[in-house]
Amino acid sequence: MSEDARGWRIALVPDALINSPAAAAAARPDVLGVLEVNGYGVLQLPPPGEHRLLLAVIADQVAEYSHHGYAVVAIGVRGEAGDGLHWRRLAPLLRHRGVALPPRHIIRPDLDAAAEGQRLGAFLAGYDLPVEEQRRWRV
């Protein structure tokens, strides 16, 4: 897989952080930009509402990644219902698939956006699977 550029790390990201309303965008870090710099892929979570089937599809994907050497995290945003993560529905779906719940990082729009961006960057840069798990899969 020498010519493959994948980063082996993925973030669950609420719709509200990918498509921030113009009024809120200035108060939030550019999450997609921070993810890109840190080499993460994105699994987009739907906006608030009933999304039973779609969340099950997303849980299937998270399970597939988690069982094959990919690091998965979740990034929420304070002020959105459930931090935008649909955790009450998603967590049992993940447990049912034998997946440990991903570590969560919550963006706080009430704090300085640049500082929040740095805090997010530090979280993303500092997270990965244990080295022995990486060696097992990432060859």
Partner: protein, 204 residues
Amino acid sequence: MEPDTEQKAPRKVALIANCLLNQNAKVCEGAHYRGVVSPVVEALRRRGYRLQQLPCPELAFAGVRRWWAVYEQYDTPAYRDHCRRLAQAIAPQIEEYLRRGDEVILVGLDGSPSTGVRFTSSAPDWGGRPNRPEDDWRLVARRGIWIEELEAELARRGLPPLPATGWALDMGRFDEAGSRRDLEEFLDRREKAAASQGEDPAAP
């Protein structure tokens, strides 16, 4: 724009192939970026598009360690059923966008057996031991299986066909500059068409 006005104004929405936000979904040796395909994201966001990631049908069906495959190998009743299930999962959101008057476009992945828009990969004799020589397949001008099933689901709901293009990642030799130019031209044509109809192409 006032928040209330912003909520009601028609928006520009881009449905994008799963792997354009997450290259980890690609088949082994198919990832050209670590995660986000930034040229696509930049081009769309610069023009005010909201992003709506589509599910990856191959990952959920055949897993992250799947073999490379062509259109004919995925053209099975079971895979089409799976794609229909995914289409039913995402279609309500797409329908909501269209019903509220948003402009919705689709950016797939040209060359992909599943997500190809203008081209898909074909090799009717592929099968058995996966030891085919490199480039032993050809491009044909048609949709991939997933896009066919997604469009069929939208049609079943009485929704109009979506303007669509593909990021040419799976066309053999990847040409990022050419792909970027191609996408920009498609988006520019959309803006010109909207402007000629008296709409504000920059409206979010």
